[in-house]
């Protein structure tokens, strides 16, 4: 299985561990990720907050490159990239809008653009839960986890096509298949504060604290995420949320790909676990203990 892959900027910077673990997991699942040659940044929040045409032009260039490379599917790990790519495809349907975008590009954007989806959805499309189970080398039994999708992955529903927009269950299904105990996490699609961490930090503190407080109350071993920005707010900025809520969380925030990688028996280094700010060592210890008990029995 071969996917044309759009990593997004954060993959080469702040979410290197997401990139490493995504690559490692896909390899273990016999999925080849072919990186789109000469890709550029999707423009992220600054572009679409400035001009829809600018944002669309940046995304259209990537979509056009994928079309020229003959891809019928483009996958990306980042929900923000995904949202921008999908929004661009939608907006390009409007002929007048496409004219404006084409004017910003070297050549007009192709019209037969590929389908775009997230890496996690793409994996779920080609690997059934049974097939996944068969590849599990170290079941996650003994771990109590909560899945946090963030606000963007499933919304707007008619654009993202990511299960029930309020209660997606994809990660729960996958990680339950890996042997983890998944708790019902009601804030799974709440907003972490996103890019407001920079211009309006208190907002991100309040939002992230709410999510971390619930996860701590539910006594989970880790929160499992699928978005680089969510990961950063909840992990790197966890100290800020702790100061706001006057409570220590010490809650590891792992990418789903890192957790999946552990279950597939991949070495820690390949999964970038050392990049986490809040250490996941207590979680790994608990897991190892549960496994040795299971083996002993």
């Amino acid at each position: 299985m071969n996917f044309t892959y759009y990593p997004g900027c954060s993959a080469h910077g702040s979410s290197l561990d997401y990139e490493l673990s995504t690559q490692a997991v896909c390899q273990a699942l016999d999925i080849t990720l072919t990186e789109l040659a000469d890709w550029n940044c999707c423009g992220s929040t600054p572009a679409h907050a400035t001009s829809h045409e600018l944002s669309a032009a940046l995304c259209a260039r990537n979509l056009d490159l994928a079309a020229q490379a003959g891809a019928d599917l483009l996958v990306t790990p980042c929900p923000s990239c995904l949202s921008n790519l999908l929004a661009t495809k939608e907006r390009l349907q409007d002929v007048q809008f496409k004219h404006k975008v084409d004017a910003l590009l070297d050549a007009p954007c192709a019209s037969n653009l590929p389908r775009v989806t997230s890496v996690v959805q793409a994996i779920a499309e080609v690997i059934s839960l049974e097939e996944l189970k068969a590849k599990i080398k170290k079941p996650l039994s003994g771990l109590k986890l909560a899945a946090y999708y963030g606000c963007l992955m499933s919304r707007p529903a008619e654009r993202m096509h990511f299960e029930d927009p309020e209660n997606p269950m994809l990660l729960e299904r996958m990680l339950t298949a890996c042997g983890a105990e998944m708790v019902d996490f009601p804030l799974k699609t709440a907003c972490c504060g996103a890019a407001f961490g920079i211009p309006k930090r208190p907002l991100t503190q309040v939002n992230s604290a709410k999510i971390l407080t619930l996860a701590a109350n539910l006594q989970v071993d880790a929160l499992v995420v699928a978005c680089p920005l969510c990961q950063m707010n909840l992990d790197l900025r966890q100290g800020q949320a702790e100061r706001y809520s006057k409570r220590k969380f010490n809650l590891p925030i792992l990418y789903y790909s890192q957790v999946l990688g552990l279950a597939l028996g991949l070495p820690k280094e390949q999964l970038g676990l050392h990049k986490l700010v809040v250490s996941c060592q207590p979680m790994l210890n608990k897991w190892a203990q549960a496994q040795s008990i299971a083996e002993g029995a």
Binding site: D164, P165, N167, D184, P186, L187, L214, Q219
Partner: protein, 653 residues
């Protein structure tokens, strides 16, 4: 033929955008038209008198009125021409209000279109023939479908008026939703105490036959002569022997059966009597859960029943009743609120519906009237009420207001304070709709005397906080602030839709329904309990949201309509029915298969097969005429020749 044409101005309704005088002038040049005029209000008394006078003065033998929809005034004008000595079917109507003046502003185009419609009516009228109704006897009995408070009222009023009443109820007991309620607003009367006597009256009235645990299977016939098939679902208990002692329910070992009457607040047994005041107070076995019926072993109820009433081999039974009129009073059900995943979609036990909350507060409910949390049985101290869950929400296809939730929420907040004096209640609302007698005063009492905090805004999310409480996130749009409340219990005022199965019943009754399944009345203002099917009436919430007094009023209104209809010994048949030209008919039988009313039969006559229309059953829908390959079956007053003449007239203008 001598035709008179009247182009109505309807004040400025038509005259404002149609040149009525010009239409009259052009009509005067149409074939057989000997008189044309343009009165201001044709339906008013002087307008009708002018038609009668014109018929006499100009020796008219046919009249065209161009005005509003025939649904509005065709019967009026037919009576007018009849008074002047014409056959009522020597009259045609052109709709130049709803079809012309109300939908277009261009006077020239409107005038042209009005002329065309008048031309069509004239050409049709030239081919009209006098038609005569026949009298047929009526059955002086009435069927009431649904034993909620509206149906009970209709049944009692009809029975007191001397009619035999057949009351069909789907559940094992009558009483409907009102029987589940604890108290009623704004008087805080005990619901069961005021409804109970009416239920007993129903059971004891010599003129009322009650079929509980029964459904209407099929309805045939027509006004005055309906044949109704009623399915009596198996109860597995011989109700003639059952005394309602309740021993079976007490001893039944199956204890985890979902309790529909108690809205799932607590489980019940596999053999039940819904509640202490149930009418009829008889036991019913739930065949999906009964161990004897599902696994073939148990038989406890049969052993303990003192009257040997248990009958495991009972089967459904069909009975047929003949009635002259039907009242539908099928009530409502709650919208499926599980679509709201942001409220947990049913995953959190302490997020309940207000109907379930009624059962929690009710002294005859499963908790004996103690308000407790379903999750752990603790008494809640902070209760949040969320209004408009599944109402006023176009995103789930329910744009309408459910009407009574504002009021019962205020009532529940008041009662909560009386049950638990140290409790605190919050109500999230969009607007407070308290437009009834003493209603606004009542909601103010909830705020001012009982200290309920009313927060204007929607709830965005409800979730368990992991420490035994629920976090309610919402917006206070008056403060312009987000609100977060830690609650022990959340009560959702879930919106209503028509009772499940209402659409299927509407098809059987041949009446219309709207997008939420509510039955359509004949006229939204002036015929609120009639339907477009003669002899079928609607009462209560099945027609649209309303509270108890309005439902009772409609029940009585239906009874008045039925008593008026069945006061006559005979009714006139509609002469606009199909008939077969046997010379052209090839007996292919297509019409027999097409007729939705079973009004066309193939018969043997002098050794040869023939098609015959049963005049009293034909409803004049015209399906057979458009199916017949030979043009042999024709509908009186809408023959192929008449329709073709109209089309010709239109094409030539």
């Amino acid at each position: 033929m001598r035709i008179g044409v009247f182009i109505c101005h309807c004040g400025s309704n038509i005259g404002g955008t149609v040149d009525c005088a010009e239409v009259a002038k052009r009509a005067a040049a149409m074939p057989d038209v000997v008189y044309a005029t343009d009165p201001m209000y044709t339906c008013a008394e002087p307008g009708q008198a002018a038609i009668e006078e014109a018929i006499h003065t100009h020796a008219l033998d046919g009249v065209v009125v161009a005005s509003c929809s025939p649904r509005m005034h065709e019967p009026t004008f037919r009576r007018t021409v009849e008074r002047a000595g014409l056959n009522p079917f020597m009259f045609e109507m052109a709709n130049i209000r709803e079809h012309v003046s109300w939908i277009g502003k261009d006077v020239e185009l409107n005038t042209h279109k009005a002329t065309e419609l008048v031309g069509m009516a004239v050409e049709k009228l030239r081919r009209n023939v006098p038609l005569h109704s026949q009298e047929f006897p009526v059955i002086k009995r009435v069927l009431v479908i649904g034993g909620g408070v509206a149906g009970i009222q209709a049944a009692l009023d009809c029975a007191d008026g001397g009619l035999d009443v057949v009351l069909v109820e789907r559940e094992a007991t009558i009483g409907g939703k009102m029987a589940k309620l604890d108290k009623t607003f704004p008087t805080v009367d005990c619901s069961a105490c005021i409804l109970g006597p009416k239920m007993v009256d129903c059971a004891q009235h010599p003129k009322i036959t009650l079929y509980a645990q029964s459904e209407v299977e099929d309805i045939g016939g027509y006004v005055g002569n309906f044949q109704v098939k009623i399915k009596k679902r198996a109860t597995y208990v011989d109700w003639h022997k059952c005394t309602g002692c309740g021993t079976c329910m007490e001893k039944c070992p199956k204890k985890d059966v979902p309790d529909r009457f108690n809205e799932g607040v607590a489980p019940t047994k596999a053999i039940t009597i819904a509640f202490p005041q149930a009418i009829p107070k008889k036991a019913v076995i739930n065949p999906d859960y009964c161990r004897q019926l599902t696994q073939g072993k148990c038989g406890v109820c049969a052993k303990v029943c003192p009257t040997k009433a248990i009958q495991y081999d009972m089967v459904d039974e069909i009975v047929t009743e003949e009635v002259g009129a039907i009242v539908a009073a099928t009530g409502y059900d709650l919208v499926d609120w599980h679509v709201y995943q942001e409220y947990g979609g049913g995953r959190y036990p302490d997020v309940i519906t207000s109907l379930a909350y009624e059962r929690l507060m009710n002294a005859s409910g499963p908790t004996g009237g103690h308000i407790v949390r379903p999750s752990d049985g603790r008494e809640p101290k902070t209760i949040v009420f969320v209004q408009c869950v599944g109402s006023r929400d176009p995103s789930i296809g329910r744009p309408g207001c459910s009407g009574f939730c504002c009021m019962y929420t205020a009532k529940q907040a008041i009662l909560t304070k009386e049950h638990i004096p140290d409790s605190k209640s919050y109500v999230f609302y969009m607007d407070i709709r308290a437009a009834g007698k003493m209603y606004d005063e009542f909601t103010r009492r909830a705020m001012e005397e009982y200290g309920t905090d009313y927060i204007r805004g929607r709830v965005s999310m409800i979730y368990p906080d992991g420490q035994g409480q629920l976090t309610v996130l919402g917006m206070d749009t008056l403060l312009g602030q987000q609100i977060e409340i830690k609650a022990d219990l959340v009560v959702l005022a879930v919106g209503i839709e028509a009772s499940h199965g209402a659409k299927e019943l509407a098809e059987k009754l041949r009446i219309s329904y709207d997008s939420a399944g509510f039955f359509l009345e004949s006229h939204v203002k002036l015929k609120p309990v009639e339907t477009n099917t003669a002899g079928v009436f609607v009462a209560g919430v099945c027609q649209g949201t309303k509270d108890i007094p309005a439902s009772v009023a409609q029940g009585s209104a239906c009874a008045a309509k039925v008593l008026g209809l069945l006061a006559k010994d005979t009714l006139s048949s509609n002469p606009q029915i199909a008939s077969v030209n046997t010379l052209r008919c090839v007996v292919c039988g297509k019409c027999v298969q097409t007729c939705p009313f079973g009004a066309i039969k193939q018969v043997e006559e002098r050794g040869r097969p023939q098609i015959r229309v049963i005049e009293t059953m034909c409803q004049g829908c015209g399906l057979c005429t458009s199916t017949c390959p030979q043009g042999a079956i024709q509908l009186a007053h809408a023959t192929d020749n008449q329709i073709l003449a109209e089309v010709n007239a239109l094409c030539q203008m």
